[in-house]
């Protein structure tokens, strides 16, 4: 279980390595605050769905598995939306369409279909926790870069010095793509180096 957990954060980080959940990663990361909110919401729903589906894996027939997962995710997304709207209305506004999009989030659906079918609760727990935290970290990283370069702030606080000229491109869509691409490249370099090391050890 712990292996799954650590994998979810680094080697198989959902956004930067597995390239899952790119939609929220690109769309909500203009600033750190909404990115963290989105990440935490997705993580919570992911954990819930994955655990429940693992418990149901014996009861639900193979062909209906995905359908049930999607339904469950949608219900939980709706609940998450209401909770957000009630307690953090500005964040809810800021996230806009991306919050309902969590219902079909590739992170949740692919992890569920990958792990929940095995029926092992330990695996599911480790995977969902790891993937969830990995997702939040990835979103935090992307949004930090974008907010720092694009607006000079971090979490709304002015960080960059006065003379800093914010690079508007990073607050906009192209900057999102660039940031995700470069961070993914960095992660992959690390992962590849590690993989080649373990390969050599095996020889």
């Amino acid at each position: 279980m712990s292996k799954r957990f650590w994998k979810g954060i680094f080697e198989e980080n959902p956004v930067l390595v597995l390239m899952l959940g790119l939609c929220p990663a690109l769309g909500t990361t203009a600033a750190v605050k909404p990115a963290l909110a989105m990440g935490i919401a997705t993580a919570v729903v992911l954990i819930a769905v994955e655990l429940v589906m693992t418990l149901l894996s014996h009861a639900v027939p193979e062909k209906a598995f995905m359908v049930v997962s999607v339904l469950l995710t949608a219900v939980l997304t709706a609940i998450a939306e209401y909770v957000m709207a009630q307690n953090f209305p500005e964040l809810h506004e800021e996230l806009g369409i991306y919050l309902p999009l969590m219902a079909i989030s590739s992170v949740i659906l692919s992890r569920v279909s990958a792990v929940s079918k095995s029926g092992s609760l330990a695996e599911a727990l480790g995977d969902s926790l790891g993937m969830g935290i990995g997702f939040v970290l990835a979103l935090a990283a992307v949004s930090s870069v974008r907010e720092l370069l694009g607006a000079g702030t971090w979490f709304g606080l002015q960080v960059m010095p006065e003379g800093f000229q914010p690079v508007a491109a990073f607050s906009m869509a192209p900057g999102a793509f660039f940031t995700v691409a470069f961070l993914a490249a960095a992660m992959n370099v690390k992962a590849r180096r590690k993989a080649s090391e373990t390969d050599r050890e095996g020889e």
Partner: protein, 471 residues
């Protein structure tokens, strides 16, 4: 058998030309325009060109050292990219912006995709688009420079406005010996001397046409300023009542009035800026805070202004000779259509670039603009077409950017199709889009389409018949 036999696939006969030679020829072709740019805009332009070229070379060297690849800086391709980036910069831009552009072009667009021969779009243009996106204010702040040849030519204006301008200019010209002011007043009298019908008709057939009507019907200059600017800039301009108010009426707040003092220029710059905001232009292209810089000499040397494209977009006319020769505001390397044309023809004659791309690009764009101008009822559509051809980055794009070997198709018919696509896209951007300049976006779009064009125009191997024909 003592000798080794070398076996390799074709080609077996190779031409003597190398990449470095080709790049050298391109640089030679670009030099006249660069020199003119420096003469026109001053020493800061030279600094920009040197910095952009140098940082491109340095970026490539550093990248290849860090990634342990073969050092290919000496083939000159990075230098050409850097030079092109520098030529695309406004003359008074901060030094670090072209450096960022060069690094982006070389590292991201060229090297990360595989180096020379593997870039999927023109690196210089991709960098320009990135910079316009990233630093839109700085990239659209055009100024006249302090060059030796610095002369400012203003667009032709309506008869009434010209008359008022003359009155205002004569009033203030006597108090200043600034060379730019003299040239400007000369241009003004020239403009006033032109057929009134021509300029009046041009202004009337303008799509928006609101400001012209205002200028005609409102004799009071201060009131006209207020109606144009919706009261925003009038307050700022009233700090210098006479000259500032006159400046507003004559150009409908768009063109830069040549300022005699710093206060004048700041006030006029504010009116220009708010006029742009009032006319609903996008924040990206029009939110530029015009910069004026004074040097030690004391006299004003950079006046913020707009490129000719801005006027053309509104259907106004601009001095054709100035556009062709290059006495206009613009980026460092793109103003002189004549010199770029000479460079382009030089390269075409030497076979460095394929004539099809520039010819079909310019041709298709010209024809489309001609038809549009006639359809919109502009006076002298042919002249308008020529103005559109010589203004902005079209000449440079057609000869030096679109013809990049790697990002353009490799078949003859493919190149024609490519050029036509760019022509149509540029026409769409320039005539109907919000941006004033459509060349760079059109070319990189077509660059992305190049693989498809290549597939479409793939030559059929000799002997293979079409499947339908076989019986």
């Amino acid at each position: 058998m003592g000798e080794k036999l070398l076996v390799s696939p074709s080609p077996h006969v190779r031409a003597k030309g190398k990449t470095s030679l080709i790049m050298l020829l391109v640089i030679v072709a670009l030099l006249p325009s660069c020199v003119y740019g420096v003469l026109n805009f001053g020493m800061h332009a030279l600094l920009i060109l040197v910095l952009s070229t140098g940082s491109a070379g340095a970026a490539e060297l550093v990248y290849e050292l860090v990634m342990k690849k073969k050092i290919t800086v000496t083939d000159g391709s990075a230098a050409v990219t850097g030079l092109l980036i520098g030529m695309n910069m406004p003359p008074m831009i901060a030094w670090w912006i072209p450096v960022i552009g060069s690094v982006f072009a070389i590292v991201v667009v060229k090297q990360l995709f595989g180096g020379l021969g593997r870039n999927f779009m023109n690196p210089a243009l991709a960098a320009r688009c990135f910079l316009v996106l990233a630093f839109s204010a700085q990239m659209t702040a055009f100024t006249t420079g302090t060059g030796v040849l610095s002369q400012v030519t203003e667009p032709t204006v309506t008869a009434e406005a010209a008359a008022e301008a003359d009155a205002g200019a004569n009033e203030t010209a006597g108090t200043d010996a600034d060379s730019t002011a003299t040239a400007w007043t000369e241009a003004q009298t020239e403009a006033a001397a032109k057929t009134d019908a021509d300029s009046a008709a041009t202004a009337e057939t303008e799509e928006k046409g609101k400001a012209a009507a205002d200028a005609k019907t409102d004799a009071d200059s201060a009131a006209t300023a207020e109606t144009e600017e919706k009261g925003k800039a009038a307050a700022a301009a009233k700090t210098d009542a006479d000259s500032a108010a006159t400046a507003e009426t004559e150009e409908k707040g768009k063109a830069a009035a040549v300022a005699k003092t710093d206060a004048d220029s700041t006030a006029t710059a504010e009116t220009e800026e708010t006029a742009d905001a009032a006319s609903g232009a996008t924040a990206e292209t029009e939110a530029a805070a015009p910069k004026t810089e004074t040097r030690d000499s004391g006299k004003l040397d950079a006046v913020s202004t707009a490129t000719p494209l801005k006027y053309l977009k509104k259907g106004q006319s601009f001095d054709l000779k100035a556009l062709f020769l290059g006495n206009t505001p613009g980026t460092i390397g793109e103003t002189s259509a004549l010199l770029l044309l000479i460079g382009g023809i030089f390269l075409m004659l030497l076979g460095v670039i394929d004539w099809r791309i520039p010819v079909f690009y310019i041709g298709s764009f010209g024809v489309l603009v001609l038809i549009t101008a006639a359809a919109r009822g502009y006076d002298a559509p042919l002249q308008y077409m020529l103005q559109e051809l010589f203004a902005g980055g079209l000449m440079m794009g057609a000869f030096f950017m679109a013809t990049d070997y790697v990002s353009s198709p490799y078949t003859k018919s493919g190149r024609i199709l490519f050029a036509l696509i760019i022509g149509v896209m540029t026409w769409l951007y320039r005539m109907f889009g919000m941006y004033k300049e459509g060349v760079s976006n059109a070319i990189i779009l077509a660059n992305c389409l190049t693989p498809l064009i290549d597939r479409l125009t793939r030559p059929v191997a000799f002997g293979i018949r079409k499947k339908e024909a076989s019986s």
